[in-house]
């Protein structure tokens, strides 16, 4: 099913996360991930929600019905920078360590903890890169996996679109 990334700007009020998650539950919308944090304006928070499914118009409209929702934007995936943080612990017997470090270096994953029989890596990047790294690490055996949920910011495309329009005109 299609994945959609939406940014929801909400008033920074108590319970607003509960309102959004309750809305998704009662309208039967499926949340893939949800990340919340402050914005440049202390009165506002931004939620980045990744949702599965086709009913985007309803989701956006229902979100707007919440009194504390100020703005909802669905991201155009081609013009959006998406990031996610992953913490991953893999089995690492001493004899396979150098091999694992080499693989991690390819992805610029950082070792954040090295134990007797396992290593924990941190990797930040777009979701596809995280998925590729995860796939590679599976061969060694994954002990535990933590993901932050996706955050997204729109690219500044003002200049580029104008140029494109001028060319085609």
């Amino acid at each position: 099913m299609d994945q959609h990334v939406i940014s929801v700007i909400v008033e920074n009020k108590p319970g607003v996360l509960a309102r959004v998650s309750s809305l998704f539950a009662r309208r039967g919308f499926n949340i893939h991930s949800l990340a919340v944090g402050p914005t440049e304006d202390p009165k506002l928070s931004r939620m980045t929600v990744v949702v599965d499914g086709p009913a985007m118009e309803q989701i956006v409209k229902q979100l707007y019905k919440l009194v504390h929702t100020v703005k909802v934007t669905e991201h155009d995936r081609d013009n959006t920078v998406e990031r996610e943080v992953m913490l991953l612990r893999v089995n690492a017997e001493p004899k396979r360590r150098s091999e694992i470090f080499d693989a991690a270096a390819l992805f610029e994953a950082r070792a954040v903890d090295v134990g007797a029989s396992s290593i924990a890596f941190e990797l930040t990047g777009d979701p596809r890169r995280l998925a590729d790294f995860l796939e590679l690490m599976r061969t060694y055996g994954i002990v535990s996996l933590v993901k932050s949920g996706r955050i997204a910011i729109a690219k500044d495309t003002k200049g580029t679109t104008r140029k494109r329009r001028l060319k085609t005109a």
Partner: protein, 571 residues
Amino acid sequence: MAEELSGAQALIKALEHEGVDIAFGVPGGAILPAYDPILDSSIRHILARHEQGAGHMASGYAHATGRVGVTIATSGPGATNLVTPLQDAYMDSIPLVAITGQVAMSSIGLDAFQEAHTWGISMPCTKHNYLVTDVNDIPDVIREAFHLAATGRPGPVLVDIPKDVLAAAMVWHRPGELDLPGYKPSIKGHPKQVRTAIDKIFDSIRPVIYAGGGIVRANASAELIRFAELIDAPVVTTLMARGVIPDSHPQTLGMPGMHGVYAATTAMQRSDLLIAIGARFDDRVTGDPSKFAPLAEVIHVDVDPAEIGKVRNADVPIVGDAKAVLEQLIVAAEAKASKRPLAGREEWYATVRGWQQSHPLAYEQDPDGPIQQQYVIEELHRLTGGDAIVVAGVGQHQMWASQFWKFEAPRTWINSGGLGTMGYAVPAAIGAKAGRPEATVFAIDGDGCFQMTSQELITAAVENIPVKIAVMNNHSLGMVKQWQRLFYGERYSATDLTDHTPDYVKLAEAMGCAGLRAETPDEVAPTLEKALAIDDRPVVVELRCDPDAMVFPMVPAGGSNDDVVMSEEEL
């Protein structure tokens, strides 16, 4: 000079500022502080016997008057008993403000006595809700609550206030400017969409106006009638919109849908253009939505953008208040009419009139047989001259009332549409009568419904609110029984009330009301006349009705509206 008040005093003062004249409630521990200043206020408090009753009374009041209904309850069970009226009001877009007490802030989360997570419980069944944690917020929160309840798409708003916040001291201040950056309901429709709508309307040869409850909420009855006449389109009125255009108006076809009038349902099915205004394509109207009005383009006017495209795609979406958009449509239609004529409607009206003649609403009252509910409704209409507010519960009696009463004005028909709340009629009638004491308020109730909330007649008697209740006693949960007869091989599981029926006359008298009974058709009119003559106390009229009667027309649940069934034989 700054006026120092308790939170409770500030609450009551804020309610007075909102123009609240009546509040329906039940006190208790956590809300106790708020009940003290009520004694000194201009607000009339009506003590219900159950919080559900208080909530439905506030709803009936709001339905009948167009003002915000107010209900007050304590924490825990008081608040949880309000859940049904809140959800009921949410589904039917009724403006309510519910004030609930909460345990003291220091006890929240400790499973204190009569603690419930009212904010969380009420979130999905309110338009918005509050937990007030600072006494100084009370004036602004009450202002916001009334604003949210009454504007945009109206709905219930709950304000939960801990006992210590009610008891704390504050310096009174008038509420400031509303600070709701995320709440800006559209009023006017987009002018371009309005023009597109008018173009389609002028080209349409089989238009139908699909009038919903939103028109009642927006007080746009006069505008609807003017618009309908200008564009010469037949009008169907949903269960929530009965009376928004008079049933005597030649363009009115009546209620469409599951138990709707054949001509209304079928006109929508054959229409080339549905003009939906303040309606939400409810499943009781559409039947199987994939087979609903297959030939029609849709113009959809609604104040709530989320309703547009939710069930049925709109070819011309118009977000805005029904009254404001109808005014725009009228201006645009007048301008257009000066340039070109409407497409011919003669053939369409001839077809629709044919359906009205071939498939009328019908019943037979055998003078020696049991009383038919339709007959009671028609007799009551005759005896009152139709000048009454009719309130219904949920079930067969509700459908017959909506079919057979001839509604001539908005806000004369009060019922639970979306949620289908059995037991709604008695308390809603009390609320309506409290809000409009000059009107005759007659509830048409079923015996199943009546037994759910009849205790509120004590409230009516004590508070001198002389409502009249017709209990259509068919000794059964009639609508459920009808489905068992038609779809469950006549296996009547848990729908027979014969062995458990109270003596309604004695019950009425025990509650301080007059009790009357009609057992045969010839007793109906004289008994109703007696009921209408009593005005010093509530009246309960028990009518012993046919236990085997069924509501038709009928579209079986999930079926297509092309397959309207007029009788049991057709199934």
